[in-house]
């Protein structure tokens, strides 16, 4: 800060004090500080202790004044900001106090604003860093807890499926059904949490793929028609027939949005009807905007609750009568935003609710290529069973996979508890396929695969099909599996049909190579 030295410019009030070298006040005009003659100036304010630095006999002639700008001096009655000068004379020191309080207060305001803005920027940077760290921790926590929950959940769902195939009493069947329903509910909750976490962290990527739009909608029509029949309500669909059969968009997310809103409509409608209609908003060159309208005659929503409808974990009074996580519509809103769409809701209690969702799509102008259907695979003809090595350290999962494969009837199963043991097994016996858990102890699934692919000249070993499996169900894990040399990946909890399909596919492909 630059100070003005020109005292005259500001015309300050000046107090003149003469003191002896031992600090005794000899004279003062008391212009603004009322200090007594004969008193020690050191006691007036600690600033004047500076005077102790100067010795009496070393100043024979009057010297240039020593300046101390912007000194805050106060006593019991007065507060001033002064420029102070000491003039050292032979027998005394003359002190001049220039009162610049007003000038310095003005300067203070400018300095305050300047410094505050710099400090605020730093504070925001720190706050941002803290929030990013918190976000990172949350995401890694969710990913880890997801893995820990999915592993036992896989076993629960798998064993219930096995249990359902055994002879059960009516009561046991009912209990098994409840366990299955609740486990699926828990699984859906984990999926929702992961989706939300991905949306919030910005890691959820929108995929643009060509897909059979009409097949997707027919799937909804057929699936929900059955539920409508069970609930004895009417389900009507009204789809604009000019909508292209194939569209380009994120099929998975569109499915998720519509399924969530439709399933809500079914949950909250006990009588009357649900109308699902799709119409075009506009179509230009290869772009298309569709309006999805889902109208029900259900409980409806109170007007004051509508603004909170898309908040996370929102469950209104009526919601408690049906199952749900309270995350569904929060995800729907986030996904619609992510796809650059729009969602609106109108509702009347006891009359029903209408959701209008606008979503943009693209379509191919020139040709239509039928979507590839899931190819069917069959196991090669063989007089002996196929031998599968399951590498898994958790007993329950080991047991579940063994049960599934053995009950299929065409597999022998060996179990290794980690990658190290798996290596020993494959050196002793020929396997048709390895199911490799990615997170086993000692040597993990990736390392074991790398060793199998690279350390053996025997092709029965080095080219054995390997399917990785893990509770970390994401694209990154799948990519890592493929990059480490595995042939496929299956996420826990898996449907038994999917597991068998993937195993059969890999064995069949190997046989035709």
């Amino acid at each position: 800060m630059q100070y003005q030295d020109d005292h005259l410019q500001f015309n300050p009030q000046i107090q003149v004090i003469n003191v002896s070298y031992d600090g005794v006040i000899k004279e003062t005009d008391n212009t603004f500080f009322n200090w007594s003659k004969g008193a020690l100036i050191f006691d007036s304010h600690p600033f004047f202790e500076m005077l102790k630095v100067y010795e009496k006999d070393s100043h024979t002639e009057e010297e240039d004044p020593i300046n101390f700008p912007c000194i805050h001096i106060e006593d019991d009655n007065t507060q001033k900001i002064c420029d102070v000068t000491f003039t050292l004379k032979k027998d005394e020191i003359t002190i001049l106090l220039y009162d610049y309080t007003v000038k310095y207060k003005d300067l203070n305001q400018i300095a305050q604003q300047k410094n505050e803005s710099i400090l605020l920027a730093k504070e925001l940077e720190l706050r941002n860093k803290y929030l990013l760290e918190k976000e990172e921790f949350k995401n890694s926590f969710i990913a880890n807890i997801n893995h820990e929950i999915r592993t036992p959940l896989t076993s629960i769902l798998g064993f219930v499926e096995i249990l359902e195939k055994t002879k059960l009493t009516f009561e046991q069947e009912e209990l098994a059904r409840i366990i299955k329903r609740e486990s699926k509910h828990l699984n859906a909750l984990i999926d929702d949490m992961i989706d939300l976490s991905k949306i919030e962290s910005g890691t959820l990527k929108v995929v643009e793929e060509r897909f059979a739009f009409k097949d997707l909608i027919n799937g909804f029509s057929e699936g929900y028609a059955k539920i409508a029949e069970e609930k004895q309500i009417i389900f009507e669909t009204n789809i604009d027939s000019s909508i292209q059969e194939y569209l380009i968009g994120d099929r998975t997310r569109i499915y998720q949005i519509l399924n969530n809103v439709l399933s809500n409509a079914f949950k909250f409608t006990e009588e009357g009807k649900i109308l699902f209609s799709i119409s075009k908003n506009y179509q230009r060159t290869n772009k298309l905007s569709l309006n999805f309208r889902i109208e029900d005659t259900g409980f409806g929503i109170l007007e004051e609750n509508i603004p909170y409808l898309f908040d996370r974990f929102t469950r209104f009074e009526k919601d408690k009568q049906v199952s749900g996580t309270g995350l569904g519509l929060a995800i729907v809103k986030s996904l619609v935003d992510l796809l650059n769409g729009e969602i609106k809701v109108t509702s009347q209690p006891e009359k029903g609710t209408v959701f209008n969702i606008k979503l943009p799509f693209k379509f191919e102008v020139r040709k239509t290529i039928p979507e590839r259907k899931k190819k069917k695979y069959t196991l090669p003809k063989s007089t002996t069973k196929f031998r599968v090595l399951v590498v898994e350290d958790e007993e329950v999962t080991q047991y579940l996979i063994m049960k599934v494969l053995i009950s299929h009837g065409r597999f022998f199963v060996d179990v290794a508890i980690n990658g190290e043991e798996a290596i020993k097994y494959i050196e002793r016996r020929k396997y048709d396929l390895i199911l490799m858990d990615l997170n086993t102890s000692k040597i993990d699934g990736y390392q074991a695969t790398h060793m199998i692919r690279n350390n053996y000249g025997d092709k029965f070993i080095s080219e054995v099909p390997i399917i990785g499996f893990s509770g970390k169900a994401n694209e990154a894990t799948k990519d890592k599996c493929i990059r480490s040399g595995m042939d496929d990946f299956i996420a826990k909890p898996f449907e038994q049909e999917d597991l068998i399909y993937k195993i059969v596919k890999q064995i069949a492909k190997k046989a035709t190579d």
């Binding site: 304010h45 102790k52 020593i66 101390f68 912007c70 505050e116």
Partner: protein, 164 residues
């Protein structure tokens, strides 16, 4: 004659010199940031272990933006110790530390300079200590004027040092 020593607080603006000053002298702390213009001076009596009483005259100077050379020379006159304060959360407040210490050592040969990193309440002590060490930042103490952590001990040790 009473034992009296002048101690000057130096460092960039916003590092917490005034907060340390107020915490030590009046045992007060305010979250509000107020620029110090020029210098504020207060006296604190410190009891020394040998029974003597030290009148510590503390000069809380206006923070500089670039280098310590911006500080008025007359403020440093007759000092018995310098306390160079930096903000451990703001790297630019210790980016000129080494040059500033060299400057003080060159012009005030006999005056000891202590280096103090403030705002310990905002960071993890272990992490910041290892960070500062890895950057070769010399410091004598880390404090928090807000929580009073290490403040009283620092000034007590300083009082002992300058009265030896």
């Amino acid at each position: 004659m009473k034992l009296s020593k002048k101690v000057v607080l130096l460092g960039h603006f916003g590092v917490g010199k005034t907060s340390l000053f107020r915490r030590f002298v009046d045992n007060e702390f305010s979250e509000e940031y107020k620029v110090t213009l020029g210098v504020q001076i207060k006296k604190k009596l410190v009891q020394l272990p040998d029974g003597r009483e030290l009148s510590m005259i503390i000069w809380d100077t206006e923070g500089h933006s670039d280098s310590i050379e911006d500080t008025r020379k007359s403020y440093l006159l007759g000092s018995h110790a310098f306390i160079y304060v930096f903000d451990i959360t703001r790297e630019q407040t210790y980016s000129t530390l080494k040059q500033d210490l060299e400057y003080l050592e060159k012009h005030y040969t006999k005056v000891p300079a202590k280096v103090l990193g403030n705002k310990l309440d905002l960071v993890n002590e272990k992490e910041i200590t290892s960070h500062l060490k890895s950057q070769n930042i010399p410091f004598d103490c880390l404090t928090s004027a807000k929580t009073n952590k290490n403040v009283q001990d620092f000034f007590s040790d300083l009082a002992k040092d300058i009265t030896k």
